[in-house]
């Protein structure tokens, strides 16, 4: 292993790791915000409300993220209307394309997590809230959602780790995040094993730190104490 070469490229890896963290951070938070109404609508009893989120989730979970990225980054340019619109400076930029696509992709998965969590809120607690005179929306905000959040948190932390790994695909639309940077440096130095292994190690470290963070969050929200039924 050639340590000098690796140390020389370490600042580039740090920049790349920062870009990876941005992509993952923004998309999982924006995805969560977008997924909450989607998940609530998905768990509705009325078919007319349930149908659209169902189709959205089916499409985004049934196709590879790579196809979705290419559809947004390369595909949208096919339409003149898009190229002349005010959004074109953003849709032309791989950074924004990656964030938009990853957000829409993860929102579909998070919406399913939220649906599962909402359906697993014990019905007795919702009935109790209604019996105490809370309105439907009050029960949703004060009882169902806080409760569902704690039920869904472990699955959400899994989804964040999956998105960390999915962010590697942003390298296919020319972004120099960890995988992209490793490919670029490997192509320049011919040190394929070393560069890919370094990138892999950084992913492992990030994943480890994220998992510990979620463990702390779970302890702070006292997820364990809520699970007793």
């Amino acid at each position: 292993m050639s340590w000098e070469v690796l140390i020389r490229w370490l600042p580039s890896f740090a920049d790349a790791a920062w870009l990876t963290l941005q992509l993952v951070g923004i998309s999982v938070i924006a995805g969560l915000i977008f997924a909450i109404p989607l998940g609530i609508a998905r768990s509705s009893r009325k078919f007319s409300i349930r149908a659209l989120p169902y189709a959205y989730i089916f499409f985004f979970r049934g196709t590879p993220l790579l196809v979705q990225l290419f559809l947004v980054y390369y595909g949208l340019a096919q339409f003149d209307a898009v190229r002349q619109s005010a959004l074109w400076p953003y849709l032309r930029d791989p950074y924004w394309c990656a964030i938009i696509t990853m957000t829409m992709h993860t929102a579909a998965y998070i919406a399913e997590i939220i649906r599962g969590a909402i359906q697993n809120v014990p019905p007795g607690e919702i009935e109790a809230a209604r019996a105490l005179g809370m309105s439907r929306s009050q029960a949703l905000w004060h009882i169902i959602l806080p409760r569902a959040m704690r039920i869904g948190l472990p699955a959400y932390s899994n989804e964040v780790i999956l998105m960390l790994k999915a962010s590697a695909l942003a390298s296919t639309i020319t972004l120099l995040e960890l995988t992209g940077m490793a490919r670029k440096i490997a192509a320049r130095t011919y040190l394929h094993e070393e560069m890919f292994l370094t990138a892999g190690l950084i992913y492992l470290i990030i994943a480890f730190v994220l998992m510990q963070g979620f463990k702390l969050l779970e302890r702070w929200l006292r997820v364990d104490a809520c699970q007793g039924r």
Partner: protein, 231 residues
């Protein structure tokens, strides 16, 4: 509504066939690796437990795309050296082999956990019953444990297979001519990226639906004789 494919229809069909082949060979490799991983993780030997745990932790912590790249580009020297030992000049992994190894490795790491869960869910009484009947260790595993594990592991494996099928798209990065690669070629010629990537997405959706139906039947067959409890 059938989009104009500019004569690339047969190429896309060939790509779909390549995707199916890749998914099934990776599945076979991944099932073997997963089973070995689960056996290692539940073995009485600490070394094997450590090995199984390290395998599933490390492989699951690194992106699939990085595994594909690492195995295709990162093993060039190693494979050439092995080829030299075997007396073959310029031995190299084909994109298909590299893709199969990478995807099989990732599937196996997740399958390790699924199989381990299934293994632990089988009552110890069954193993003891086998011992009391005088079956050998080998027979107990093959005739008693494995068939029951299949039923318990099937739902988890089904989910993993859906993920595997979508991950096959990553192998297009190293040039295997599957659906994505064929679509890219079609896009270069036709200048209609949205049309062709949408068609690719539709093919993947169809494959997912077929896999879901297949899983439904497999689960029903594996669960015959068992009453499904209502959720």
């Amino acid at each position: 509504m059938i989009p104009d494919l500019h004569g690339f229809g047969p190429a896309l069909v060939a790509g779909t066939w390549m995707t199916i082949q890749l998914a099934l060979t990776s599945l076979a490799l991944g099932l073997v690796l997963g089973l070995l991983g689960a056996l290692a993780k539940t073995s009485p030997f600490a070394v094997l437990r450590w090995l199984g745990g390290t395998y599933s932790t490390i492989v699951r912590g690194v992106p699939e795309l990085l595994w594909v790249l690492l195995i295709y580009f990162g093993t060039i020297n190693l494979v050439r050296w092995v080829g030299g030992l075997a007396g073959i000049d310029n031995l190299a992994l084909s994109p298909f082999t590299a893709g199969t190894i990478a995807l099989g490795l990732c599937f196996g790491a997740y399958a390790t956990e699924v199989f381990r869960g299934a293994l632990l869910a089988i009552p110890t009484g069954h193993r003891e019953a086998g011992l009391a009947l005088g079956l050998s260790k080998h027979h107990i595993f093959l005739r008693l444990i494995l068939p029951q594990m299949w039923r318990l592991a099937l739902p988890g494996l089904g989910n993993l297979f859906m993920i595997l099928m979508k991950d096959t798209a990553l192998v297009s990065v190293i040039g295997l001519e599957e659906i994505m690669r064929r679509s890219q070629i079609a896009v270069t010629a036709s200048k209609e990226p949205f049309t062709f990537y949408l068609v690719a997405a539709f093919i993947y959706l169809c494959l997912t639906v077929v896999a879901m139906i297949g899983m439904h039947f497999l689960e029903r067959r594996a669960g015959r004789g068992f009453v499904r409890s209502a959720a």
